[in-house]
């Protein structure tokens, strides 16, 4: 969109195009480096077990086999990856909705409303991010156990509805980047705090909301530690945890099946990213300023 702005001057335009071409070349070259492990993963997922390690460096399977996908998809004892994917989707989608909405509400409170104790609570919120989770696991487990939530999705989903420090802080920064005049204008229009938040702030921080949604979805999707602790029965496992149950350091491990299912498990987050990222490209975030 930058080029559209200057589009009136054709000399600049030509120069710009040349530069853009060179830039594209660099992007493609670096892109190969970025995507190599994915290619390796996919290639290995189509290799026979006898080939995965003996010809690990090759990106083209000697004997192409889709068997790994069949074996992997079958999962364990009748619980297939259809179940694991379903569980992952339930956990990730609800967590994402909860995290984004609640974090936006809290972020607005912290960023725009001056109230007594704001600094204190904000510092406390930051502190919760600095304490390694590893030492909170056991007390947290006891809390959820007391609530009767073990072996349900609740410990994985419900806390997300109470705001997540990372997203709250991020959205705060975006909200604080918006001009104050907006708030004043809205106040004159007779909007209360909620109205201001819902009608004015929320649409303006759409890029931050989308970014949060992408992160939240992916982080929940790949998290195996929470599910490991709180879910007992494999029929409730998400993909991340099921993948770990495939391999064991001292037992025979079907790496082909692991690679096949790992490749599949990357798809949802990748597709979500492709779908959502276009909202970060529109470049008309200034509507609010003008309107």
């Amino acid at each position: 969109m930058a080029s559209q702005a200057i589009g009136t001057r054709s000399r600049l335009e030509r120069q710009r195009r040349l530069k853009a071409g060179a830039v594209q070349l660099v992007i493609i070259f670096l892109g190969l480096f970025m995507i190599y492990p994915l290619l390796w993963l996919i290639a290995s997922s189509f290799k026979d077990i006898s080939e995965i390690f003996t010809r690990a460096g090759s990106l083209i399977p000697e004997r192409f086999t889709a068997e790994n996908y069949a074996i992997g998809w079958a999962g364990f004892g009748g619980i297939s990856f259809a179940t694991f994917f379903k569980n992952s989707f339930i956990i990730a989608i609800f967590s994402t909705i909860g995290a984004v909405l609640s974090s936006a509400v809290v972020a607005y409170g912290f960023a725009r409303i001056p109230f007594a104790g704001r600094g204190f609570w904000f510092v406390l919120m930051l502190l919760t991010m600095m304490l390694p989770t590893q030492v909170q696991i056991i007390p947290q487990y006891i809390v959820f156990n007391k609530l009767g939530w073990i072996n349900t999705f609740y410990p994985l989903i419900v806390p997300k509805f109470f705001g997540q420090a990372f997203f709250i802080f991020m959205m705060m920064q975006f909200i604080r980047g918006l001009p104050k005049e907006l708030d004043e204008a809205a106040e004159i229009d007779g909007c209360g705090r909620f109205g201001m938040f819902w009608r004015i702030i929320l649409p303006l921080i759409k890029p931050a909301l989308i970014t949060s949604a992408i992160f939240s979805f992916y982080w929940t999707w790949e998290d195996f530690f929470g599910p490991l602790l709180y879910l007992n029965e494999p029929r409730l496992f998400p993909v991340s945890l099921a993948l770990r149950a495939f391999s064991d350091p001292a037992a025979a491990t079907n790496w082909g099946a692991i690679f096949a299912m790992s490749a599949l498990s990357l798809l949802p987050a990748f597709i979500l990213f492709l779908m959502f990222q276009k909202y970060l490209v529109q470049g008309i975030s200034t509507t609010g300023l003008k309107g």
Partner: protein, 315 residues
């Protein structure tokens, strides 16, 4: 830290001038808006945090009840060589990987901010490293790249340099891990991208009419307008850098050669679970909290000088 944080300059001033019902309304509204977090904090987070603090002064093997030991855990830390090794490794990692990662993320975000063809696909491809995260595929690729006869050393040999066995050599083992962290720049990149979207286009238009070139536009528009987001990324990368867990674990399991790639969180986890010393691990966790807190305060203190919140004033 307390005073510096949400000191959003203008609102505070206006508040003080307004009447006290207005103040009360704001306080009510403020607590209402942050109530989800407050409630969640007291239900889910508060207790575990307090418990972990208490455990820091106990000997607790998880299998039996904790036993009060006073400051013994902290004394043990003082004379624990592996602990200091982990501190050193983690500091080295944070102070190299965080700036590099941020610079790289910002540079790529600016490249990816254009409206050219296939930009969506490029972005997705550049986000792939962050998606594959800590998977086996990444570990395998890194070992191939940085192996004794890997691609990196092949490149170096063309320059006449004899490359080391990067991951096997205690002097070089951190380098591939730092490069891995930089390579997984996806999340700060995405946040930068969202930040760039929020910069009003008119500013650039006005600047180019004034004859400002690319670099000057970057210096006088992009950087200041993006500063709240840069600030956020810096703080978060700092925190997550100190807490880094996966990278070291997949690339150099067991701490790597001569324990030179033993990270704080990895060591903490090993102590807490593999060695059943949860009390010691809790003590380590609280020391880490203080370390991270210290650096976060530093960043917040300097932020007044370079983070601009009111877009109109600085444009």
């Amino acid at each position: 830290m307390h005073s510096t944080i949400p000191r959003v300059k203008t609102p505070n001033a206006t508040v003080r001038r307004t009447s006290s019902p207005r103040k009360r309304y704001n306080t009510l509204m403020g607590y209402l808006f942050i109530s989800p977090w407050l409630i969640g904090f007291f239900i889910f987070t508060f207790l575990p945090i307090i418990v972990s603090l208490v455990l820091a002064f106990t000997s607790y093997d998880i299998l039996s009840s904790p036993r009060w030991v006073g400051l013994a855990n902290f004394q043990q830390m003082w004379s624990d060589r592996r602990y200091w090794n982990a501190v050193r490794t983690t500091f080295l990692y944070v102070f190299t990987s965080v700036p590099l990662r941020l610079i790289f993320a910002l540079a790529v975000a600016m490249l990816m901010n254009g409206a050219y063809r296939l930009v969506g696909l490029y972005r997705a491809i550049y986000y792939v490293p962050s998606l594959v995260g800590g998977s086996v595929a990444v570990a395998v690729m890194w070992r191939q790249l940085f192996g004794e006869s890997g691609a990196i050393n092949l490149g170096l040999s063309l320059l006449g340099v004899d490359g080391p066995n990067w991951l096997g050599n205690p002097r070089t083992v951190l380098i591939p891990i730092i490069i891995l962290a930089v390579w997984q720049f996806g999340s700060p990149m995405l946040i930068f991208l969202a930040g760039l979207k929020q910069i009003p286009q008119e500013l650039y238009e006005a600047a180019s009419i004034d004859g400002a070139g690319g670099w000057r536009q970057f210096r006088s528009i992009t950087l200041p307008m993006l500063s709240p987001v840069i600030f956020f990324n810096l703080v978060m990368q700092l925190i997550s850098g100190f807490l880094v867990f996966t990278q070291g674990l997949i690339i150099a399991p067991g701490g790597g050669p001569l324990q030179r790639a033993l990270f704080y969180s990895v060591y903490l986890y090993e102590k807490g679970f593999a060695q059943s010393q949860m009390g010691y691990a809790s003590a380590m966790a609280w020391v880490l909290l203080i370390i991270i807190g210290f650096f976060t305060i530093l960043v917040f203190k300097t932020s007044d000088n370079w983070v601009f919140y009111d877009s109109k004033e600085d444009a």
